[in-house]
């Protein structure tokens, strides 16, 4: 693996007007990370953590309030106009919903040709051959290339979406919950396909999901997000075997494992209070944290090293009990 980051995000903040429309709510709060060429970074977190917003901000579908996105040596947030349109073709997104990510009025051939013509400059008469080749690569029969999205199943549509992303010839692929709306067996097919394709084409990927098991399967490195902040990041093996942040540990404990010896026991828990004002400083996680103490209330922890390439944003990182 090359040590040069293909994507380097620095202090990225994305905010939206809050319900009272006077204040702004930070969906992504001063986030920094990098992805190296050829690797897959998994971005995991529960709903509302900002992972989708972060993915959209990196692919420039969402305007960032501040920060820098360095891609191939260029800050995308300082680029504009036709220059930007050319660069963004190298970052392609695979969306969650197979239903709304394809134009229902365009056949597969039209959809793929559009990407081929505008991104790779392929002349129109060669589009059929190129598109058929793409179909084959994602495991679809090229003879159905003139059919329309509603004539395919969810899994097949997702394959078409992958083909479209590849048609643009990207160097970075952002997959936002690509299998969340698919059945287990179809999901397995799509994940295997993504792994094959990324190996064959040496793709760099940002893989966003709420499902830790899938993220573990797909990513070389993983970042855990909570309320707009990255709380832990590290090599996938390290992070899953020795989680450092109490939130990561909580997530891992909460996953039901297909192991009959691990039973779910009766328990009574009170749902966490809907978080009060986030901007009141301190660690965002302290209200749910089992080991928070006084310092957490007035100081916000930054990502600090906990060994090797493993970083954690918690003052008490070293004191987490490791799973057996």
């Amino acid at each position: 693996m090359n040590r040069k980051p293909l994507l380097q995000v620095e202090n990225l903040t994305v905010s939206f007007p809050a319900r009272d429309s006077r204040t702004r709510m930070k969906a992504v709060n001063d986030v920094s990370f990098e992805i190296y060429e050829g690797e897959t970074l998994g971005l995991v977190g529960e709903s509302g953590c900002g992972k989708t917003t972060l993915g959209r901000a990196v692919s420039l579908l969402q305007r960032a309030e501040s920060g820098r996105i360095h891609f191939n040596g260029r800050d995308l947030l300082q680029t504009g106009g036709s220059e930007l349109r050319k660069v963004r073709r190298q970052i392609q997104m695979i969306f969650q919903s197979p239903f709304s990510s394809l134009d229902p009025r365009m056949s597969v051939l039209d959809t793929l040709s559009e990407a081929l013509i505008y991104c790779k400059g392929i002349p129109a008469k060669r589009c059929i051959d190129e598109s058929s080749e793409l179909m084959r690569q994602v495991g679809l029969d090229p003879s159905v290339i003139r059919k329309f999205p509603h004539e395919f199943s969810g899994g097949q549509r997702q394959r078409i979406a992958i083909a479209r992303a590849l048609a643009a010839g990207p160097s970075l692929v952002i997959a936002d919950e690509p299998v969340s709306s698919l059945d287990v067996s179809v999901s397995a097919q799509i994940l295997s396909l993504l792994r094959q394709l990324r190996a064959k084409m040496t793709l760099t990927m940002l893989f966003i999901s709420h499902d830790l098991s899938i993220v573990k399967y797909m990513s070389h490195r993983t970042a855990v997000m909570f309320k707009g902040v990255i709380v832990e990041t590290g090599a996938t093996e390290d992070l899953f075997n020795k989680p450092s942040h109490p939130y990561t540990k909580m997530l891992l404990d909460a996953i039901p494992v297909p192991d009959p010896s691990r039973k779910i026991l009766p328990g009574h828990s009170v749902p966490e209070r809907l978080s009060p004002d986030i901007s009141s400083g301190g660690c965002f996680f302290r209200h749910r944290c089992p080991i928070s103490y006084e310092r957490c209330a007035y100081e916000t922890p930054a990502l600090g090293p906990v060994g090797g390439n493993h970083y954690c944003a918690c003052f008490r990182a070293a004191s987490i009990e490791q799973p057996a």
Partner: protein, 325 residues
Amino acid sequence: MVILDVRNISTTFKLRGTTLRAVNDVSFGLQKGETLGIVGESGSGKTVLCHSIMQLLPRPPADISGSALFGLQDLVSCSSKDIRNIRGNRISMVFQDPQAAFNPYLRICDQLIEPLLYHRRLSRRTAMDKVLSILEETGIPDPARRCRCYPHEFSGGMLQRAMIAMALITHPEILIADEPTTALDVTIQMQILQLLKSLQRQLSMSVIFITHNLGIVAGFCDRVLVMYAGQILESASGDDLFLHTAHPYTKALIRSVPSLHVNSGELYSIEGKPPDLTKEIKGCPFAPRCTYAQGECTEEDAAAGLVGVSHFTSCRRVLKGEISL
């Protein structure tokens, strides 16, 4: 003690000239206090099965045969008056989307009170007390104030708790939960599952838990039915299902799920697609996609047999001992 005895349920839908066989000759029994999981992917018939038992399908176009004995009554063929007395009273249901289960224009307390006023004919005051106590048991903080809120003022996890409260307020004997935690965050999901377990113990209630998540099934259910193409392929205790798997589909399903704790190589992906339910299926419905399939699997009628105590499989090759999974 069997409190629900389901026999030979078959559900077909007549659509524009074709007939769709959604459920094909399904039988099972539910014990008192037991948690029965029904596992299957979309199109397996698990939801249609429960809707058929509870008379929630309009007929026509649905055509349901078979019986589901609950005490002395057959839920499938009893009158609408009778089934209405049972639904929400002795058998309650909880669904995937709590937003859809609540009327957005009514307060939570007004909706929770309804089953008590209708089924138990309690006075308003007594009913309100029960509402407050069930809300507290489902872990909703400050119930007196919260119950006067509207559904949109609740978060997803809390609304799911409220839906469970509404289902349990009449202390039903059976709770049918159809993917109740699929739309929830993983940490909330764990809380809801733990809550269900403890309420189940408290009320000695039986639970039918429909899901596609094998992880939940392993930790939460006593017995499991694996459905595919409208049929039960395997039925076993939770332990047996994972430790002594007796059907290639179950095995394949287990291997398709990425594991958190085991370092797997490639994910196993099942080739092909589920069968077309509008066509007659001869033999085992999974055979076209099964790596162990042989001629007899599609040429002869579906098999059925036990491989252990209360462990049923429909795989003829497993029953004959030809393969071990």
